[in-house]
């Protein structure tokens, strides 16, 4: 059993290496400042932080939409907003929380942490990384900006046809949805490819697959899921846009199309997307639990199995969102079987965390408290999830508030709680500052109470028959008290989240300075300074175990590597390459590109082209030629690659 050592060696070895070679590295990995640097940076840590801040801003906007809706539904016959605006609010709320908050926020964690955890100096494709961020930011501006013109999506986050067709939904609203998501999909796909290549090729020497941190496994599995799940959504959105704008009939049953096809395509993406959101969040939990249990994660192979199995099986359960459509019973059972089995890996993970805590020495700090809150909520959401795998129960509660309660327990409990836990855990690494324990405790308990008060009553209003997406309800339905409780809970939840925000902002301004490894973490990000320098780690270490920061041999590789040019790479803006399965060193090192405005230029011209298409100004789409030209410049081989002997040189501009 690997347990955390009680020595201070963990922090001192990398620091000694940094003292020895940090100055030389700063010359090849310089810290740039100013406006130009801000727009052109390709540093994964800066991009990761931007992802998180931007996603948090979109979370606030989508959360305000939810508050307006809850205010409207606090009592019967509410008149805060009209039905047209209400339609836009719930559609934008769902779309934004899924596409503009959850996934990008977790990609932000991944961007910042994956290279550090792997012991490398950047993502495999730094410019692609920057490009992905700019596209994501622009897609959010498009989506939220449309609300100002009363053109926000208004047919629910899953935009079922024929409601979303041009007959029933005229105007730009659904065009914003289809084009916005297609545009955003470019960013998500680029990010996923980047994570996969980084994790397969840039791991520290010795980091064979059995020594890869669970968080990285989660990010990689999620990235593969994105690669396979997004194409059906993109195809569906492209076909819906063509139906609406150019009169094709993919989904028009009167003309030989198929309305159910939309549901198949959407949910073939949509259900894996639940796990695309949840898996990285579970990875965060798997990073926090060992640190505060003072031992390595229990049953590591099982937790990896659970992650991989969830990723694969999630592609065979999409029809459980369509149990009420009227498909043949036999068809439903194939998906019901998979839907029941997919609960097992989630259960395995929960037992692994509980086992780790049970066999370790629990330290109950703020991040761990959020993790414990997550476990409670995720199990509750999981229980109702199993209920939905049973076809007769699903058919009784489809489209009711019971479903709303379920997926908020899974997605808010299962993703937002771990995200906040991760913020408290890695905040010292992100910012170099510690957070207030008192503020963290208040933020947790207010949020936990507010969450349960907001969403638990929805189980009851759902079972009493309250349908989703209604903007008013009469007073004689028996739903009033449950809705009032939900609204009060929503306000309490908001207070909790504001306290969380306040605690983090307070830390930025007045927080105590963080040491490099304030919690005694087990993975390599804690070997970097807080916040990390541009080059991340002064020496590329050798990973001798799953817990390199608790392992004397791995730590010794920092000091042993000081004299080894191959591990310091001080004369090259480059990273080490290793083999995919076993983490064996390969030659030559991979040259990394410098900062560049090209990612921003390509993203901006794509955004302009998307806007032109949206507004029907088809000549304007010629702006995409700028993107093509910039891409040509981006990919042009400007310098010769590094020679085989690893001597100085230039290389890829990825």
């Amino acid at each position: 059993m690997t347990v955390k050592p009680d020595t201070t060696t963990a922090a001192s070895a990398p620091r000694a290496a940094d003292d020895a070679v940090g100055e030389r590295l700063s010359e090849t990995w310089p810290e740039e400042h100013g406006l130009w640097a801000w727009f052109t940076t390709v540093d994964h840590k800066k991009i990761g932080r931007r992802y998180m801040v931007t996603a948090a801003a979109y979370f606030v906007l989508a959360g305000v939409a939810a508050l307006v809706m809850r205010t409207q539904l606090a009592g019967p016959n509410g008149d805060v907003v009209d039905p047209e605006l209400f339609d836009q609010l719930f559609s934008l709320h769902g779309t934004a929380m899924i596409f503009l908050f959850a996934t990008p926020m977790l990609f932000g964690f991944g961007n910042f942490l994956v290279p550090l955890m792997l012991g490398t100096r950047d993502m495999a494709f730094p410019r692609l990384n920057a490009f992905g961020y700019w596209v994501f930011a622009a897609a959010g501006i498009l989506m939220f900006g449309s609300l100002l013109f009363e053109a926000a999506p208004n047919a629910g986050w899953f935009a079922y046809v024929p409601l979303s067709g041009s007959d029933h939904s005229p105007g730009y609203n659904l065009d914003v949805y289809t084009l916005g998501l297609l545009f955003l999909g470019v960013s998500t796909t680029a990010g996923a490819i980047n994570f996969i290549v980084t994790a397969l090729k840039l791991r520290a020497p010795g980091m064979s697959l059995n020594r890869v941190p669970v968080f990285v496994w989660a990010i990689v599995v999620t990235s593969f899921m994105v690669i396979f799940a997004l194409p059906p959504l993109n195809v569906a959105n492209a076909m819906l846009f063509l139906d609406r704008r150019f009169g094709t009939n993919f989904f028009d049953t009167a003309e030989g199309g198929d309305a159910v096809l939309w549901q198949h395509l959407f949910w073939l993406f949509g259900h894996p997307d639940v796990y695309i959101i949840v898996l990285p969040a579970l990875g965060i939990v798997s990073a926090i639990v060992p640190t505060f249990s003072r031992r390595a994660i229990a049953a590591y192979p099982l937790i990896v199995l659970a992650t991989v199995a969830t990723g694969i099986i999630s592609f065979g359960v999409w029809v459980h969102h369509m149990f009420a459509v009227g498909l043949p019973d036999l068809s439903l059972t194939f998906f019901s079987a998979a839907s029941l089995i997919i609960t097992v890996p989630a259960g395995i993970q929960v037992f692994c965390w509980l086992g780790t805590m049970l066999m370790g020495r629990l330290v109950l700090n703020v991040a761990m408290l959020w993790v414990l809150g997550f476990i409670v909520l995720f199990v509750l959401g999981g229980v109702t999830g199993v209920m939905f795998a049973i076809v007769p129960f699903d058919q009784q509660t489809t489209d009711s508030y019971f479903v709303v309660a379920h997926f908020h327990y899974v997605l808010f409990g299962g993703a937002v709680f771990p995200i906040i836990a991760g913020l408290f855990y890695w905040w010292p690494k992100f910012t170099g500052r510690m957070t207030s324990r008192r503020g963290g405790l208040w933020s947790f308990w207010l949020t936990f109470a507010g969450f349960n008060l907001a969403f638990f009553p929805m189980h009851i209003s759902g079972l009493l028959g309250m349908p989703r997406r209604i903007y008013v309800y009469p007073g004689d339905t028996g739903w009033t008290v449950w809705n009032l409780l939900s609204t009060l809970g929503a306000y309490l939840l908001t207070v909790g989240l504001l306290v969380t925000l306040g605690t983090l902002v307070h830390s930025l301004r007045r927080g105590e300075r963080a040491t490099d490894d304030p919690w005694g973490g087990e993975t390599l990000e804690w070997a970097a300074t807080s916040p990390p320098k541009v080059y991340n780690l002064p020496v590329i270490p050798t990973a001798h175990s799953l817990t390199p920061m608790w392992d004397e041999r791995s730590l010794a590789s920092f000091t042993d590597g000081i004299a080894d040019d191959e591990r310091v790479l001080a004369h090259q803006h480059a990273v080490l390459r290793t083999s995919e399965l076993d983490g064996r060193l390969e030659h030559p090192p991979l040259e990394m590109p410098e900062d560049s405005p090209l990612p921003l230029v390509v993203a901006a011209s794509l955004f302009a082209g998307t806007l032109a298409l949206l507004l029907g100004w088809y000549e304007g789409t010629l702006v995409l030629l700028v993107a093509v030209a910039a891409l040509c410049w981006w990919l042009w081989p400007h310098r010769s690659p590094i020679p085989e002997d690893g001597a100085d040189g230039g290389g890829g501009q990825t």
């Binding site: 064979s208 697959l209 199995l305 694969i312 043949p328 036999l330 194939f334 029941l340 089995i341």
Partner: protein
């Protein structure tokens, strides 16, 4: 890097390739069989019921077979057999070849530790796959297609 074990050095290239192929089958065979089962069984039921091509007894048919028979035999039994074979392969890898060697060299040979992890993953994936295909097979026996 540690030197290869003497037993590995003795193996000819063809045998090593066969071993690697068998290991990948042990890891991914079951879950691939399940994916084929799902697509084939569900797709056949959906398409056959939509087309409603009936045989002499008024039963929906596929390639001359009854729909139920086709789904049970072709789309379920064969993938189930493949998944069970993959399960057995992963079990044998785990218990005989890798676990025995692993006990002697645990922690010293990353390649071996990594292979053990992969086979453990395969074992779990195969158990899930066999269960999912078996549940689908039970449904084929229980439900009438196209209702």
């Amino acid at each position: 890097m540690p030197a290869p074990r003497s037993s590995q050095r003795r193996l000819p290239a063809g045998a090593r390739r066969l071993g690697a192929g068998l290991m990948w089958f042990a890891v991914l065979g079951g879950i691939t069989a399940w994916a084929i089962h799902l697509v084939l069984a569900w797709g056949t039921v959906e398409l056959a019921c939509t087309r409603a091509e009936t045989g002499p007894g008024g039963e929906v048919t596929v390639l001359g077979m009854s729909l139920r028979g086709f789904v049970a035999a072709v789309a379920t039994a064969i993938p189930l057999a493949v998944a069970i074979a993959s399960l057995i392969a992963s079990w044998r890898f785990r218990s005989r070849q890798l676990a025995g060697e692993h006990r002697e060299t645990a922690g010293d040979e990353p390649r071996l530790d990594r292979a053990v992890l992969m086979v453990q993953l395969g074992l779990g994936l195969n158990v899930f796959s066999v269960l999912m295909i078996a549940f689908g097979g039970l449904a084929v026996l229980w439900f009438s297609p196209c209702t």
